[in-house]
Subunit: 593 residues, 2 copies
């Protein structure tokens, strides 16, 4: 069976391209070295291949259910895999010394985590969601809250969730109706229903720490009225809190992860005389969405990694299949009785593999580069460098989330196609990849929400400062490639006008200041800008491979050529459409459908 | 629940655009009128909505299995739905008087069938495959074979299959290994294994008539050695023939249709002393692939219809959802406390609905127009008209098959996205549409096979005569639209250069006569040509709607505008790529992956 991720590619991207060893110059990572990074990557690879990958299909075919005792039943292998992950200390990797963490750069941690996301995405999510929860609480929680809730999570005893959506409020968080009422002792009582809560109930640990968005009295309308609460399944003294599992959602993919509808404070598990689940305020009242969104960049980049990882697994499987499956002959074969060739020798199959390669290795590059921004924003010694990295992180996040969600799903579609009829069956894994990956353009902000975030907020905030930093970053590489001459300079010359179209298009659409018109084709803009950034990431990889011989580097060069030849030109009509401020959608009333 | 197909659109396309009443001028259809056509459409709509649609999810969730007695077990509702379809005489609709058929034009028959394909694609396939089988045998079988096998199929007593693929030979039929040995009494004994046989075993009728490709002695290598045989599950006298069910394939979608691995002549059900399943030759030896491919146009157009129908069902569901689901506010809303709007009021949702509309109504137009060619090729009084229609049918078939398979799957992807998280769950139907539709780019010739067929065969055969007829057809509309002036003339001016690129690109790629280079980017060419043809079909619909008022016609105009603005320009970079004779794929050796 093919590996779910290419270690060779991870090593190339981390060490030969991004030079992550340089991160050890920052104090927080000073105890690290290439050896310690490698050790983490080895460990992740080993556990993922032994305890996650073999059970990917099993989790898909044995969906969680609620047993007669009302408890969620998961396949035993999930508990085993998660236990192994926790026992290895991988969950505390990215946390600092103060939490007995591994002080691992986000870049290296994320690289290691791709093994689990690719090997068994559904199994990986229980601990991944816990890391996100712990990360938020470690930043905004009180020391007591950190002791009580974060430390047990990092010890592997507690698990965490994020409870944002409600049945009537998904993309539109301002419409949430969950209420939090202060009861006078500093705690609150939370009542309401939360939807789509991944890992919202299970028996993997001693407790589940829900982070819940709710409205406390006195907040304004809309998102300003939202506060953030810790609502644990069990209180500190072991009392069952009033958080009730109402139902499990049955999904097309990611079936091994419970996805729940939870009632808070419906009286199923009453605590004392007050109604509601006991909740503890995080930070200040009415700032809940700020805290949540401050962590959102990393959560969204995490979705991008998840999409990339699933795309990667499908890609490597289709390469293996294409090299071994014999079928057909070259179109110019003269002898119909000649032996069939491996299907990888058909140009159209090669096209589908090059496309996948450019998407999944490009997606990985996008995720890892974005993660270096997380690291630099958090730990760079120089304040300007921190600010610049934070700005870049802000503007790139909609792309880091949406691009892999779109194109690595496309990769899975191509992986099925390479397999032919076999790819459509449960005998192979690629159909599951395709189903699992379809979630990613939806959760953590849909594709359309990312588009509006990019064109309506990130590229115009601070007078376009973020956009400017991004363009400078891309242009620096283009200048370097131009100076290098040869093919690199040709790619640079090809890429430059596309890069220039990004700010030019932003200027054009916002010229009248009418957001309805400016954002009418935000999605096309997101996709055009995303593909342009990816061409830049391929040029970066091309430069990192310069002067190096061998199949691996030739493969990087071929994928760069593919991306520049087949993919980048697709953005031309998209930029045209956006720049034309086309009104087709806004001028079509709903009665015409 | 939304209808699976829009009757209003069917009526528009059949009567206001294609003017199918004109077909009654041909002798074969002379007894028909708009009334009889409507009666068939009404009947199909009624049965599909009552007996097919309600059980679409049930079939998905209750996959066929093999019972302890070795027989295939289907949900009861499948037998009920199929029985109702047969009792209504719909299966004999397209057959002539000589077979007690309905002498229905293919165009009207196919339009009626979309109800079943959209309502419950898996349930529809049992009878649809039977029609295909009966159609072939009615054309190439002897009178005795027609009496023995075709008539019981049209009476609803027997079912039919097509057995082409084998585990090692899917796209490459020349490599099939199933053998047929004459035993001296005019019959043959067939031995071998066939894979992916839809409806290959079940208990819906008295018998299953397999049409099997096999190699008889004396044929050359490759496809020339292939002959076609009738191999029934039960012989005329009721003897069980040696056709054994080896296993059922478990698929991502279309789960209600059994998909089987069949052994012919493995001795499970021996017949007499000779080894092998008893088979009866169809037509002449070694001409099997000719017979099969002669029917392939209709089979492939049928796949296009299937893809369109599933896309259509998802589209109508997402329209209904978007009109009722409240979420968010316009981007220029000032008051965060204002009421949420229906999501259809968000431009990006409207984009996703317009895209779907343009794909599924466009796919329907493509299928119905292709079907008029089937009708004209078979029944036009004028020999030249017949020949011209046959030529056009030949060249359009790769597009009629592949375009809906690609874009109506994309429609289903967008239908999920419109539903947000709900669309990813089994609570709604769109995730099933997406899974069901993923089959269509694979079976009856993969996407890549269609591409090579179009650019390597159909557009170059007979000195490019077929291509010329296609371009003349498109140009005639463009000239008519130009003459009409106004918006139609603008669309015409936009479309003309794209249409001109089709023959220009064919000339360019074949200039050197090297098929490896010419066909290296055949897929991009197929997609570019397909989108161009679809723009033409939208211009046709635009013209048919000219001067007519109301939401329905405004919707047609909006979808035309969408297609010309958002979709047609995508073909520019594709034509560029093909015309550049880019060698990226052929120059990338397999070791680089």
């Amino acid at each position: 069976m093919a590996d779910p991720i290419s270690r060779r590619d991870l090593d190339f991207q981390l060490y030969e391209w991004l030079d992550v060893e340089q991160l050890t110059k920052f104090e927080r990572y000073a105890d690290h070295s290439k050896d310690t990074f490698d050790a983490v990557l080895d460990l992740a690879q080993d556990i993922a291949i032994k305890k996650y990958a073999p059970f990917n299909k099993l989790l898909d075919q044995n969906e969680p259910y609620v047993g007669e005792d009302g408890k969620v039943v998961l396949p035993d292998v999930t508990a085993e895999g998660v236990r192994e992950f926790l026992a290895a200390g991988l969950i505390a990797g990215p946390f600092g010394e103060e939490l007995d963490g591994g002080s691992l750069p986000a870049t290296v941690h994320q690289a290691a985590m791709t093994w689990f996301q690719a090997a068994n995405p559904a199994m990986s999510s229980y601990t991944f969601l816990t890391v996100g929860n712990a990360n938020l609480l470690a930043t905004y929680g009180t020391p007591d809250q950190i002791d009580t809730w974060v430390k047990p999570m990092l010890e592997g005893r507690y698990f965490g969730t994020m409870c944002l959506s409600e049945p009537g409020a998904g993309s539109s968080l301002s419409d949430i109706t969950t209420k939090a009422t202060p009861v006078g002792d500093g705690t609150y009582r939370v009542t309401g229903t939360k939807m789509w809560i991944s890992a919202g109930d299970h028996e993997l640990g001693e407790n589940i720490v829900h982070l819940v968005l709710a409205k406390a009295p006195g907040g304004g309308p809309g998102v300003k009225g939202i506060s953030l609460f810790i609502v644990p399944k069990f209180l500190e003294d072991g009392t069952r809190n009033d958080v009730a599992l109402v139902g499990l959602n049955h999904k097309m993919g990611q079936r091994g992860t419970t996805n729940t509808l939870l009632n808070f404070g419906d009286g199923t598990f009453p605590v004392g005389d007050d109604q509601g689940a006991v909740g503890y305020l995080v930070g200040e009242e009415h700032k809940g969405l700020f805290y949540m969104f401050h962590m959102m960049n990393e959560a969204r980049i995490g979705v991008g990694f998840l999409a990339t990882a699933i795309g990667y697994a499908g890609y490597l499987q289709s390469v293996e299949y294409a090299k071994t499956r014999l079928q057909g002959r070259p179109v110019d074969a003269k002898d119909p009785a000649s032996k069939p060739v491996a299907i990888i020798d058909h140009p159209d199959v090669k096209r589908m593999l090059l496309a996948q390669k450019s998407y999944v290795e490009g997606g990985l590059a996008l995720g890892l580069w974005s993660s270096t921004l997380v690291d630099r924003a958090a730990t760079a010694t120089d304040e300007d460098e921190r600010a610049r990295a934070a700005l870049l992180l802000d503007v790139i996040t909609p792309i880091s989330k949406s691009w892999p969600s779109q194109w690595c799903l496309t990769a899975n579609d191509l992986a099925i196609q390479v397999h032919g009829g076999y790819g459509y069956t449960k005998e192979f894994d690629v159909e599951q990849c395709y189903r699992d990956n379809r979630l990613n353009p939806i959760h953590e902000g849909t594709h359309g929400v990312q588009a509006i975030d990019l064109l309506g907020r990130k590229f115009v905030m601070k007078g376009g400062a973020g956009l400017q930093v991004l363009i400078e970053t891309l242009t620096e590489t283009i200048d370097r490639a131009t100076a290098a001459g040869g093919t690199a300079a040709e790619y640079a010359a090809t890429l430059r006008p596309y890069v220039e179209r990004i700010p030019a298009t932003v200027m054009t659409v916002w010229a009248d200041g009418d957001p309805a018109v400016a954002l009418a084709n935000a999605t096309a803009f997101l996709e055009a800008a995303g593909h342009t950034v990816l061409a830049w990431l391929w040029l970066e990889q091309f430069l990192a491979a310069a002067g190096k011989d061998g199949d691996f580097y030739d493969g990087k060069r071929a994928a760069t050529q593919y991306f520049f030849t087949y993919e980048l030109p697709k953005t031309g009509p998209m930029f045209d459409l956006v720049a034309a401020k086309d009104r087709t959608t806004i001028d079509t009333p709903s009665d015409w459908f």
